[in-house]
Amino acid sequence: MSNVIIEQVSRNFGQFVAVDGIDLRVNEGEFVTLLGPSGCGKTTTLRMVAGLEQNTGGRISIGNEIVSDATRGIFVPSERRRLGMVFQSYAIWPHMTVFDNVAYPLRVRRRPAAEILGRVTKALQLVEMEGFAERPAPALSGGQQQRVAIARALVFEPTVLLLDEPLSNLDAKLRLQMGDEFRSIQKRLGMTSLYVTHDQSEAMALSDRVVVMDRGRIQQIGAPEDIYRYPANRTVAAFFGAPNLLEASVESCVRVDERRFRLEVVGRGWRGPCEAASEMQPGQAVTVMARPEDARLAPAGSKAGADELAWSGRIAHTIFRGPIRSIVVQTDDGRLNVDAPPFGSHAVGDNVTVVVPQRAAWAVVEKAAKAQ
């Protein structure tokens, strides 16, 4: 197993900057996900690590060995980087059987036949496809192709595993199942993995750390919980779920502990306490994020506690979603989404108060702070 170090890596396509000087360190055995909307540079980053794309700036090392350095003109071709990769399309070669597909990385390395047989069988067992070895590759369903692609990527025990949206072509149920299976295989083998996806729930469920990218830059790196709870800026906040984002300005700021500050903010028709990652000056404009699941409904006219924010409004409409009911409340400062129990007694037109505890209200500034 090896680590992957990406230092100041850039990639330009003519005038267009696809990846703009990113730094990332993936430790041995770690599962790191590159997450972002399409066109954010995540796939380009992965392809540069794979050697399928050459970086125009910066340096990439795998296992403490430099594989690409733009300034020194070093470029190790893909086939000598000892990687495994699962492609979005799976790239199962249609002219080979399942066995031949999985055996390919060993055959091109001229391993003896006995070893090939043993390893391929083991890899196929790992993905529970051992009964399909002699099937021609086109006669497989999407989920089976995906398993074969994973077996092929693992069969020669690569130093690093790269995955380019491997679950995006599967239906929702299979996607969950394959994701869980894959994570357990990865943990068992302790494989360093770099994973690309645009699906935030996938990223949160699988990763040790998530790297949020947008427009070629890293917006935030952190554990899934931290990124969800404490986004570094508005882009990251908006990317996870459908939070309420409210404009406000800072009135005062006090340090709570080494990573949190308590702010008093005032918005359009409301005021109250919230938290932030950095010290803010009075008068500064911020965006306050409050997630629907952290908000609750109180009877109209309820007073907010000392550590709470409150908005009064009227229920505009409700949507039944099964486990929860989404309630949209029209307030003086626009509409707020609240997740309520599915079988509550709220009706359209009721006057209510929306309450959010201070700990769940997180203020960010528009301009991205330097990533951690």
Binding site: A50, G51, L52, P77, S78, E79, R80, R81, R82, L83, G84, M85, F87, Q88, S89, Y90, A91, W93, P94, H95, Y104, P105, V108, R109, R110, P136, P138, R152, A153, F156, L162
Partner: protein, 574 residues
Amino acid sequence: MPATPGLSWIGRLLQATSAGRVVAVTLLVVLLTFLSVYPLSMLLYGSLHSTPPGMAGTFNLDGYLQVLTLQSVVTLLNTVGISLAKTIPSLVLAVLLAWILARTDTPMRGALEALITLPFFIPPILTAMAWGMLGNPQVGLLNQLYQWVTGSNTAPINVYSYGGVVWHMMQYSVPFLFLLIVDAFRAMDQSLEEAARMCGASRLRTFCTVTLQLMLPALTGAAILSFIRGIENFESPLFFGTPAGIRVITTDIYDSINQRSPPEYQYATAISFVIMALLFLIVLLQWRILRGRSFQTVTGKGYSPTVMKLGKWRWATFAFCLLFFFVTVVLPVGQLLIGSFFKFFGFYQRDMLTLEHYRAVFGSSDFWRGFNNTILLGFVGATLTMLLGGAVAYISVRTRWRGRRLIDAMAWLPWMMPGIVLGVGFLWGFALLPHAIPIYGTIWALLLAYISLGTPLSVRIMSSAYAQLSFDLEECSRVHGASWLQTMGRIVIALAWPSFAVGWVLLFFGIMRELSASVLLYSVGSEVLSVVLLKLWANGNAEQVSVIGLIMMGMVILFRWVQLKVIKSRINAL
């Protein structure tokens, strides 16, 4: 992990160093320059040069002045008119056949499809000769039959006419158009039509507003291609037009060089240049019409659409397809068969039966030389052309190397050059080469001309083969440890070879049937079968022509069978 030590340096040279790429691209540029740009520029040179190739002369515009005479304008109008006259009915027939075979429940559609596309693969010179015998106004079999049935003395059928030229061309353009459009019919997404029906459109309205509209790019493109081929056609006007005094550009070029004394090289070259300009205009027109609309507007997912139930009418459609096969294949082949066993063509009595023509043909050194030359040129030419096309297509489709567009364009150039025009270009080109390179008058001259003529087709076939292979398949191999060469061998070639084989067979057919360039570039010792046939025909030896024709037919059917059985089944297995 290195590849085979002996070969790995090539891969490293091509992939790792930019010098290797420059060498590869430069080699191709030089090769393609000789194959396409050189004959083209020689056409311009020759059209301005007052004497035949290789002789001292002056430069003037006499050739182009001759093109501007009334006679030449009539020739030009003939060419365009005949091509239009055959394209329109051919398109109607081809659409009908494609609809029958792709969208109805006519019995035995698979076999019928193989039968009605067969005429496309028969060398036109064979059917031209057969129809020359069938439709001869004096002794033709069809006229004899008519007189026997009706008892009259008139001969209603005369193939030596405009009608004969158009009729003969149609036998080729119908299966040609059919092959181009049938996949569009087959891949047509049923749900698009069903959606129109659900919106309340009638069957006819659906056909006009949806089906036909979706087919339009494919139909227009195919019709223009067929029109271009009509202009390039040489055999039909040579056999049926020239005896009736109907001149088109291709036969005019041929006559000026081969039939007039002294040969009018300058005029021939000038009018060659004019026809190329004409074709270039048509191609530009085609691009304008099809701009933004690709041939693959209707792409299928490999399912077969539900077919229309015709009830007892399906036997009528079945009979219609069979009739087409009978007229285009059985009649001419039957004529060749009959002609080969009777002493004199036209006199079919039992006491005239003989095998002496077979003996004469098999004992003839001319025949064997032509046969050997054709087979040799077919194998070598088809292989080299596909290799060249494969390399050009790979660079232009799969890489971002500098110069890839240049070689793609150069390989496409011969597309605009009819065989006879390319023949004229090479005639000048070979004659002006230094004496140390004696190509003119050897079999190499024919080989180079065939490669040049076939390159656009081979590039097109290989380009679409590579384009269908997703880049992932190649990249996946690289990431998993295969070098560039290993990836080429195990993935790219392994997946593209069926297209290679299909292209190879098509080129082999093309070489076997080629007449117009061969007839200008052959010399004693390097005759090919089509030239041998033409010479025998000119000497009035229709009986031996029939024998050789049958042998060629046998080869055509054999190759077509191999193509359909072996290659198709391998492709379907993928």
